[in-house]
Chain length 83, copies 2
């Protein structure tokens, strides 16, 4: 079993209203030192063994997990620790 | 300037309907090898220098970025690359 950590982020230059809202909230809580906030998705996939695991993860990201028009993605693959 | 990468995830045992929905969508796209999906938030904070930066980041997470009842958080602090 593998644990795939996927990070989906907005592309450079794409407006991030959610990030702006969080920044304003942080400022109202007196955290003025925060100059920018960018919000993305962190997705953990627990995947059974597959001979072309990396290719499959790329396909999953391209087809579903990330919107290729406005989002970029990165991922890390590690052996899952059996619970 | 520092770049703080914050990972907010649901606590162990907390139901993840969004993760379930993604898993079903992946299965319908023939990615049956995916056995579980957990969805969280990936937040990038760009923060000016502060003498107790770690303490401040903990406060931001405790007060706003993560819901302490159902979520855990982790973060990494690195020097931001000036654009």
């Amino acid at each position: 079993m593998y644990k795939v950590k996927v990070y989906v982020t907005l592309k450079e230059g794409v407006l991030d209203p959610q990030g702006k809202a969080i920044q304003h909230s942080l400022a109202s809580l007196s955290f003025e030192e925060v100059e920018e906030v960018r919000v993305g998705k962190y997705i953990e996939l627990f995947v059974g063994a597959h001979e072309s695991l990396e290719a499959r993860v790329n396909e999953m990201c391209d087809q579903l997990l990330a919107n290729p028009v406005i989002e970029d993605y990165q991922y890390e693959i590690e052996e899952a620790v059996e619970q």
